[in-house]
Amino acid sequence: MFIFPELNPLEEIALIIGIILTLIGVFCDIVGSIGMVRFPNFFVRLHAATVGTIGGAVYPLFGITLMSLALNYLGVMRYFIATGAFLTAIAIVLTAPVGSHALARAAHRSKTVPVEPKVCDFLKEDERLIEE
């Protein structure tokens, strides 16, 4: 209504939010990938990867949900896109942190990756206490 005469106000708001979230996503993707390359150690790269997954995939997928719901020229297809993107976003929110955690724990336990550089490593000190 404001910019696009085809849309009603609600759709337009959804579209704009979706576009903003998509832009955030692309930005986070690039930053995350730069971080992946720049950071010196696996444990530090985990943080860059989080930027790439949460900012770079979950937010934009929510954005795509809103955006596709607003785009009425897609016809019935927009529901498929919206639901697919929504479910994927939920799945990523649930699984991405667990994947990172599992990898980090495995890397620490198998001692394949040194925690370097570090300020402190309490896990190494408490290692024997955690063994169930």
Binding site: T53, A57, G84
Partner: protein, 94 residues
Amino acid sequence: MALENFISTFIVVLLPAFLISLSLYAIRVIKGPSVTDMVLAIDCITYDLCFLMGLLSILFKIGFLMVAALALALWAYVLDVYVAKYLEAREVGD
């Protein structure tokens, strides 16, 4: 038609950014000194591709293509868990 054009242009303009970030992740997969690094980068690539799949389904106007993203995300998680399991325990069924 103006809306469709706008959205298509918007998506097309974003694509080079994806190519850059995917390439950088791929570099990490190639370089990654340890297996965990590589798997982490693969995670990022798959989640990134999920996002790209969403944008492209809007660009191609085909909703049926979106189902793939969910499967990709879930299987990437399974791969994570299995690599972690391999590194932690010698026996996978443990």
